[in-house]
Subunit: 761 residues, 2 copies
């Protein structure tokens, strides 16, 4: 995955799930299933039991050992071998399989130099040494060196400034202390945002270079014993990763919006908008320590200080740093493995399941831990087919290449097949890394109730309660007062909205395909992320030593695929979605109110001179300027659209519940008509023009944050306009989202009409 894994804390996994009584997981088998009749549900669960019995841990271990045996990044020889191996496996399980190739820009380093020239001389090591405890760490000839993909070339020498996480508010704090990064090289620590934000914001403030280091506070000994003694990043470990401006668009930087086929029309390199504006490189904390120790100037604010044994100063200087980077700007083949089972009844409705296969180095955890679970799931479905079972809908299994540099394989595939997918794609289900712990789920809220049902039926391998129940317990113990209450009282546990960071992004955000992202974690030790130490040895000591959670992921993904492929009607529920949107509407209104009060307070303090009065006169202090008052925005269009949506959702869900209660299925034609509308409901949440200044992102409810981080921004058009104090745009976007919701409501009403008027079989 391309998000910063060590920052996913347990609490962020507490996204899920519904209230259930504490029953052994087996005792709930006769509960109804969304989209099935009562009898159909019983048959479905019998098949799932058979499916479970086919899953074998040994396969996961064997495949991980093989797939992670050598470095297999995009464009590597072993990456191609892996794609071919995966394809051959799918073929052997009965899948119609092909390797679909794209040709994508993928720079790799020719020159990497980082040295400090003053106040003392130091040359950074920029390498992760081989460890005898890690049998693949010595494959230096095949390993990609430590670098950030899509940094531009550069050769800069300048004073250094420490900028914390390097997000916009950090530069406000620097400005208050009279520090300007113009013409300087910044050093930021990993965390607090998607790494690509750091050089982007640094460049906007005039910096000429950017270093990103792993502070031991966030990703090292502060968290736990370091590798090889423990799981955590050691002093020489560094985090590779993409720094392309993915919040603008992911995928090949030269072919935005279209598939990077051999003959596709490409941008000139100099015109590629997602490359960084300044050179950027990641470093270890052993390499960062001499640099940070050589900074003077004011102390960094307390929450900027990490766990290195130094006083964290901001600079600028006296440390002067020389950074030189040159890349080989080559185009490489990108091999997606695509494996299909044609639907017996509705072949033009596709359930797509994906996990990437490329890694930064050996990638046992990222992505092989998720990939081997997906493969075992696919193998078991193949076994079911051999015993005569056929899915109603088409199932597509994908193993993506080039996820790490920027979702290249999935994005190019989605762009290349956009028209077909817009017609046929019902749901996309993604996984990526996986480990011991708690189920985490993000996704479309129309699938919230469905995934709650799935989580209720999968047993946690350690505690033997359902995986849903385990998340519920987490929220009850660790959640806020509201979370606790909801975890006990709300029918379903909430799922999080999807930002970006793995291959679901083009599906949901570019095309509007209802999506889910699933994975276990929270009890697997971190620290190997994007390093040479993300190895079979590391994973089988600290990740999921017995592959129990690999099996749990296969059971979860398998149930999702099998239920979606077999249901009489796609199991979308709109009440949960409307409830989520209601929250988001409340949030953006509260955001505006909070900003108004905060601005009022700040301006008052400026007028009263309180900020100057409390400042220490022996230190530089530049007080912020007063800001224009925050106006009251007209949220009524959004609130009115939401009210209509809630009403329509209630009607649709009610009609479908009645149908389910009747015990009889709808006529096949009505089922197909309903599916046809339901597939399009997520599409109705998109807008062809996309979001302001980033037309690739078409979804109006979910998007990764453009500026303030990489996590999800819900109602992004409105929320980001407010955050940027662009009141005019905020008001325009209120209307646009309201219209979007109205389009969705109309679709739901059409579905309700069909469901209501159809006779029962």
């Amino acid at each position: 995955m391309i998000i910063n894994k060590p920052l996913i804390k347990l609490c962020s996994l507490a996204l899920l799930f519904s209230f259930t009584l504490t029953l052994p997981a087996g005792a709930i088998d006769n509960k109804p299933l969304l989209g099935f009749t009562r009898d159909g549900a019983i048959r479905q669960r019998e098949m799932e039991t058979r499916f479970d019995s086919l899953l074998k841990k040994e396969n996961l271990r064997e495949w991980m050992k093989r797939l992670a045996a050598r470095p297999h990044h995009l464009g590597s020889a072993y990456g191609k071998e892996n794609a071919e191996f995966i394809a051959s496996q799918f073929r052997s399980w009965g899948y119609e399989t092909e390797i679909e190739q794209f040709d994508v820009l993928f720079p790799t380093p020719k020159t990497r130099l980082l040295e400090m020239t003053a106040p003392e001389k130091f040359t950074a090591r920029l390498a992760e040494p081989a460890l005898k405890e890690d049998s693949t760490s010595n494959q230096a000839s095949e390993q990609l060196p430590i670098y950030n993909a899509y940094s531009i070339d550069g050769d800069v020498t300048a004073q250094l400034v420490y900028v914390n996480y390097g997000v916009p508010k950090d530069y406000d704090a620097l400005a208050e202390r009279g520090i300007d990064v113009k013409g300087k090289i910044v050093i930021a620590r990993y965390g607090g945002s998607w790494r690509g934000i750091k050089p982007k914001v640094a460049a906007e403030h005039g910096a000429v270079g950017c270093l990103i280091y792993s502070d031991p506070r966030d990703d090292g000994y502060f968290q736990g014993d370091v590798y090889p003694k423990g799981a955590w990043r050691n002093e020489n470990g560094a985090q590779r990763g993409s720094v392309a401006d993915m919040p603008l668009f992911p995928g090949d930087p030269l072919t935005p919006g279209i598939g990077a086929t051999k003959d596709a029309k490409r941008l000139a390199l100099k015109d590629a908008p997602t490359l960084t504006k300044i050179p950027v490189m990641p470093i270890s904390y052993a390499d960062a320590l001499p640099l940070l120790r050589s900074l003077a100037g004011p102390m960094a604010p307390e929450d900027w200080r990490g766990a290195l044994p130094i006083s964290y100063h901001l600079g600028p200087g006296p440390a002067i740093v020389h950074l030189k980077l040159e890349f080989d700007w080559k185009t490489v083949p990108c091999y997606n493995v695509i494996a299909k089972i044609r639907g017996s009844e509705r072949p033009d409705e596709w359930i797509i399941r994906g996990n990437h296969h490329d890694a930064w180095v050996n990638g046992a955890d990222d992505p092989i831990s998720g990939l081997v679970a997906e493969m075992e799931e696919a193998r078991a479905i193949g076994e079911l087919m051999k015993s005569g079972w056929k899915p109603k809908r088409t199932i597509v299994y994908a193993a993506w290449d080039g996820e790490e540099p920027g979702l290249l394989g999935s994005t190019e595939w989605v762009e290349a097949h956009a028209d077909l997918l817009k017609r046929n794609a019902a749901v996309y289900i993604n996984s990526d890394t996986n480990g011991r712990g708690f189920l985490g789920v993000g996704g479309s809220h129309t699938l919230e109730k469905f995934i709650n049902e799935v989580g209720r039926d999968v047993t946690d391998p350690q505690t033997k309660v359902s995986v849903l129940e385990r998340i519920r317990a987490l929220r009850i113990v660790r959640g806020s007062t509201d979370d606790k209450r909801e975890a006990r009282e709300r029918a379903d546990l909430r799922i999080s909205a999807l930002g970006s960071g793995s291959d679901y992004s083009p599906f949901i955000q570019h095309l509007g395909i209802a999506s889910l992202n699933i994975g276990y974690g929270g009890e697997d030790g971190g620290g190997s992320y994007h390093s040479v130490y993300d190895s079979f040895d590391h994973y089988t000591r600290f990740g999921d030593p017995n592959f129990d959670y690999g099996i749990a992921l296969a059971q979860t993904g398998g149930r999702i695929v099998l239920r979606l492929a077999n249901a009489d009607v796609l199991p979308l529920v709109f009440g949960n979605f409307a409830d989520a949107v209601e929250r988001y509407v409340r949030e953006v209104a509260k955001l505006t109110d909070d900003m108004r009060e905060e601005t009022r307070q700040k301006n008052r303090q400026i007028n009263e001179r309180s900020l100057w009065i409390i400042a220490d006169p022996t230190e530089v202090y530049v007080a912020p300027k007063a800001e224009a008052p925050v106006p009251h925005l007209n949220f009524a269009p959004l609130q009115n659209s939401l009210a209509r949506l809630q009403e329509s959702a209630r009607s649709f869900d009610g009609v479908m519940n009645e149908a389910a209660a009747s015990g009889r299925a709808l006529p096949l034609e009505a089922q197909k008509s309903l599916d046809g509308i339901l597939i399009q409901t997520e599409r109705a949440m998109t807008r062809e023009q996309g979001l302001p200044r980033r037309s690739w992102y078409k979804h109006q409810i979910y998007a990764p944050g453009f500026y303030t981080g990489y996590g999800v921004k819900t109602l992004p058009g409105v929320r980001e306009a407010i955050e940027q104090r662009n009141w005019k745009e905020a008001s325009e976007q209120v209307n646009i989202i309201a219209e979007t919701i109205d389009r969705l409501t109309a679709e739901i009403d059409r579905a309700t009409k069909i469901a209501r008027q159809s006779p029962r079989n």
Copy 2:
């Protein structure tokens, strides 16, 4: 001071003060003054202007250089020289001066050995090296070594366990991880509580020894550059300090409740209840690092981890530690300097002003920075007397000895003269360390309005607004929403209640003498506290280089003394006190409600098994036991007493305001009668039996916390009983405090009657 200075953060200084318009400090000279007629206030302010003009920074610098020139701890040769020097100065200024001697137990080390015997050999250095940048740091022959006073002798060898701050809840967290300290040596970090709590709680849990170290997170490079580059504690710096069980009683451990005069009846050493139960020693972080690095076992909870470059584990072991301590249990003379000016009109009403003179080593900051301001204040008052001025009331200036080991000088003096003081003492004003920054005030809330008036009239040397205005700005910027609102809207800024940590404790808590504690700070760099580096060199670089805040303290203390000595009627106001008590009553009620809800939630989680379900099965987890539900307590007696107090306070303050508005003074006899009652009002807040299990502490509104720390506990009888879940005692204490408040209310009503019935002059 004996409290842990580095933990006093800026926010805790934001205790004060009243709303005023932003006027230059000089423009408010015609405002009324509590206790004075309008004409009297004008004359008083004229005198204060004269007083200010007499203050000379050069004296502060010269005296600090002299007094901190050599180590001057209790019992030292230079300590005696200092006492004699101070006394000679007071005599030269016209004070009737004596040195009053007590004879107190003061153990100093004969043997100090700390070594690690496994898994590797290490012997702790236990010494602070001389620095060429610090001219007094090389006086090894006179320096007290690094140690904790009133630790018992001991020779123990055991596995080590890390216990964070070593407060009771830390042991709960250890128990949850299956860790028992019985038979172990604990290592705690400084902070989070009064240091004496650490060995006390460790011993209660069965530990056989206790180390206390300064973590660089709280008191070292994490805070800023270390000495001599910056102000903060370097790796060899360690914090001496008392570990006597002062929350039981302060002062000489062998003479509780009575003055330690030559012939006083003394306890046998073995019966002295405030000595520790296990040997305890403070160490530097250089000495702590090898020990902590050698611990295995579970990772410490995240908020337990400090700034050493290691993974903080809990143990026990494999580190095995040998600690050997032997002390010379000698009795030493304790020299209090007592200097008086007899009151011209009411000689039997005493205004007492004190600051200690003993230090742990050279003590430029602690206590000389406060002492030299007090001396300059006294010198200027002497000058005023030479020009013919005389105070109405008696002024007593004190320089206490033996504060550091446990408030010995002040406590023995208070105990020896208890009857006289109960009759005569009107107010005690304390100071201790002082530095650049913000005025901090704690004290009796009957003096809250008075100290607001004083703070309004002192100009901050850096910003030229009043020192009150500067604190107000701090609360407006940094405070909670409630603090912000109050800072703008409430007539007076609140002062904090007094716990313990300096010489006010015997005055207010043992005898019930209205008290104030004043001092500037927050912009003076920390890290020299109780080390050999608390020197003239350190202070004049980082403390208050120009002694501007020394002058501000003299102006503040001088105004307090002069106004209290000269007022027609003592300036006590009861509305502020009633308002503070109302808060405390609300707090204890809320505490009970919060504990009830928390207990309910925790028990529910235990019943639902949520705590087990979320536990990582690969780690030891011992869930807490269910607790009895928290009952609803009857707070009505307290609330009814409070209501009567509020009514009486309103009447008294109203009558006094009318009197002030009339512009005419009360007849002298009425003034004296009122003073007689007002002096006793703080006494009315005490109870001869004292608090449960610690009869020395007689004040029913303020006390230092017995168990949960050293900070203040207001309404201590009730609050601590609730915290300990002793519901029966809590209910009894509600009634006891209600009765106490009723006694006070009766006194106020007597005062009101006199004030109302007296004619105006």
